[in-house]
């Protein structure tokens, strides 16, 4: 029987230089489906307790889902590892063209263990795996590496995941570039790759990804595409990508400015779709198999940074590299984000670390002799990004560790403006105007993350939750809301679906796609159950790795300082608010008051064996 699963993982052990295949088990398929499910289960099983993320024992995995590499709209791939930034479970999804190549080579994923003795790259072509020296690529940027690898292999058909100098140098939030315009951005997977001495992974395959029932599958693809066409949210992304969110967030009073001291920015329109359309965009671009084409390719044509070829400046980057640093020139912002991508830095964490340094500089806590630590100074940001990626100079080495560690090192109460959760710098949705989003940050499995649940849509985005309009700054019902949103998100992330596809495609259509592709029958409601199972496994991983539930908390700035501006002016998320939301959330999850999964919950989800 044909199936869109390839039936095996490629396992590469860099300590011994050997490769093997691991069969895809029925349990993994039926209980965890793929994507995020694979990440959770495999990471829990393969990473020994208390593993140092930079040690040989940590694993780095590039995983797919059952619909990756097919024409099911908007599927991606995912990197999983133990995060060096947070010490937690980490998955980081990436779109583009790299993940499908893993399946065309015949695998559902690549699992890398051990550590190479010297900087290397791994070339995989179907059953052939070669580990080659990357000595000559040392210090190259992500795209420079991609070109160098393809040139050396003599075949532009390889798809390449690569790290820049930041990953080589162990910057705790280094990313993995996955072909053009796409990155496994958050949590430092690039630093783990660097610690394993892997500069790049190149993959090419000649296998067909088949589906069980081609006719039904293509019908489901058509239904999914129809749902995308009928979704106003998706059509907004077709027109303007995530840049359209800048003006929305500004009006809602959740756009961070000046290291989250404010929640509106007077020049927001310069950074949003209006400014980007005027100064950057030339055409739309898409990931493999995706009709949404949210990427807007462009070029900086004028000014100091002219000649820079740039992707759309995504909302998170526009806000964190723009308004949060008080930079309003979108051309400079595009240049800085492109620089991050090439150096191999997560633009969100990098920009937040710099915002932290700027505030510390303005408060005279940090010495400003090295560079002018003041908001709005583009030259300072450019200087610091280079210094961080190369881990040179006092500031470069300090900020390469992220804001949590930087605040611990410089002390002087700087933790009051270190904006992170569990060590991961917060996303660009200031939660004081949307308390459910705050709870989503508090409880996200990898630290400060907006992609595990997105209550913003229900709190200020006009969507009703179970027929009711929610009070954006209220706390009641937010635990239940986050519980449900997280479960569904994780459940459908087993397919590696892009969040944007998920705005339009219905659970029933996802289930149809899965069944036609693999034969696995799923009631659409089961995505929630599978998601809940995953949330318990990742929670158990984090508890095992010593992440204390007291870390389910918000940065001090959001707790102690009331908003100065915007519609939620005067509001903060107090300790009492956090406690209320968290207890409601733990109850919904079937966890104890301290946030630990109960045996009954684990038994219900079939995960009793993983108990702690």
């Amino acid at each position: 029987m044909d199936s869109s699963y390839m039936g095996k993982f490629l396992v590469i052990d860099l300590d011994t230089g050997t490769t093997a295949t691991l069969p895809l088990s029925d349990e993994l398929k039926t209980a965890f489906i793929g994507g995020k499910g694979f990440c959770a289960k495999l990471l829990y099983d393969l990473v020994p307790e208390d593993t140092d993320p930079f040690s040989s024992e940590n694993v780095l995995m590039f995983l797919t889902g059952p619909l990756t590499a097919t024409s099911a709209p908007s599927m991606r791939g995912v990197v999983a590892t133990k995060s060096p930034l947070t010490g937690t479970y980490l998955d980081s999804f990436f779109g583009g063209h790299f993940a499908p190549s893993i399946k065309y080579a015949g695998y559902d994923g690549i699992i890398i263990k051990g550590k190479a003795r010297e900087l290397c790259y791994i070339a995989i072509e179907d059953d052939t795996v070669a580990i080659k020296s990357a000595a000559r690529m040392q210090g190259l940027g992500t795209l420079e590496t991609l070109e160098a690898v393809k040139a050396e292999l003599g075949d532009p058909g390889f798809k390449v995941a690569s790290i820049g100098p930041a990953g080589e140098n162990g910057v705790l939030y280094a990313l993995i570039g996955c072909e053009h315009n796409r990155q496994a951005g958050r949590g430092g997977a690039g630093a783990v790759m660097g610690a394993k001495n892997i500069k790049a992974v190149a993959v090419k395959g000649s296998k067909l990804v088949k589906v069980k029932d081609p006719r039904k599958f293509m019908e489901a693809v058509q239904a999914a595409n129809e749902e995308l066409r009928n979704s106003p949210d998706v059509q907004g992304l077709v027109a303007a990508g995530t840049a359209m969110a800048v003006d929305f967030a500004n009006e809602a009073g959740i756009l961070p400015s000046k290291n989250y001291q404010r929640s509106t920015f007077a020049k927001a329109s310069n950074l949003g779709d209006e400014g980007q359309r005027k100064h950057l965009w030339i055409k739309s671009s898409a990931c493999l198999g995706c009709p949404i084409r949210c990427t807007k390719m462009g070029a900086v044509r004028t000014g100091k940074y002219k000649g820079t070829i740039t992707d759309i400046v995504e909302y998170e980057s526009a806000a964190l590299m723009g308004s949060n640093l008080e930079i309003s020139d979108i051309r400079a912002c595009a240049y800085l984000v492109t620089l991050c991508d090439e150096l191999g830095l997560d633009s969100m964490s990098a920009a937040s670390s710099i915002a932290f340094a700027m505030e510390a500089g303005e408060k005279k806590i940090l010495d400003t002799e090295e560079t002018a630590l003041e908001f709005g100074n583009v030259a300072t940001v450019e200087y610091l990004l280079q210094a961080i990626a190369e881990r040179r100079s006092g500031l470069g080495r300090l900020l390469a560790r992220g804001v949590k560690r930087a605040a611990e090192i410089i002390g002087k109460d700087s933790d009051v403006f270190a904006v992170h959760v569990k060590g991961m710098e917060a996303p660009a949705w200031g939660p004081r105007g949307v308390s459910g989003m705050g709870l989503a940050y508090m409880t996200a499995d990898r630290g400060g993350c907006h992609q595990r649940a997105f209550p913003v849509a229900y709190e200020v985005g006009g969507e009703k939750w179970q027929g009711k309009t929610l009070d954006p700054t209220g706390v009641e019902g937010k635990g239940e809301l986050v519980f449900h949103l997280q479960n569904y998100q994780a459940g459908t992330d087993t397919l590696t679906k892009c969040d944007f596809g998920g705005f339009g495609v219905s659970p029933a259509t996802y289930a149809d796609l899965l069944e036609a592709a693999t034969g696995l029958h799923l009631d659409p409601k089961e995505f929630d159950t599978i998601g809940e199972r995953i949330w318990n496994v990742t929670r158990l991983f984090n508890l095992r790795e010593g992440i204390d539930p007291t870390q389910d908390t918000l940065p001090k700035r959001f707790v102690n300082e009331a908003l100065e501006d915007g519609p939620a002016k005067g509001h903060r998320i107090s300790k009492e608010d956090m406690h209320f939301m968290l207890q409601e959330y733990y109850r919904a999850r079937g966890w104890t008051e301290r946030g630990i999964p109960t045996k009954a919950t684990l038994v219900r989800l079939g995960q009793q064996a993983a108990g702690i």
């Binding site: 058909g157 067909l208 198999g289 070829i309």
Partner: protein
Amino acid sequence: MVPLNMNSTKSILKKRILTHFDICTGCNICQLACTMVKDGGFNPDLARLDIIKSKDNLYNQPVVCNHCDNPYCMNVCPVGAITRDERGFVVIDDEVCIGCALCARYCPLDMCTIRRQGKKDKAFKCDFCGGDPQCVQECPTGALELVEIQSAEIREDR
């Protein structure tokens, strides 16, 4: 060799795929459609059309078989495996093809590829799906457009 006919004036309505690099997003849905309908599975590398991506992905140029008036592939095929069918499309006869790869070597657009089929090498190229190409049907943006060219002739006096 196909005999030259200097006096041909046969006029025909030609179907062609017009490509629009300005609209193409590089999503590869055309290629996925191609291998699904022709090979029964997905892999854009095996598709009978290509997308050339350049300048850090700023340019995506779809490349399709031209079904040329003067097909180089057909001209160089030593065994007559490549012919023009009754609808005007340049097609390969699998039974006759010996997998010599001359077509692949001389097509300026790299639209002929050689693949292992069973124990033998065979040439593959676009056959226009018999007149209603799946790639055009599934392209989400209109970057591939089916057109009919009225005025041109199929010339055999190359």
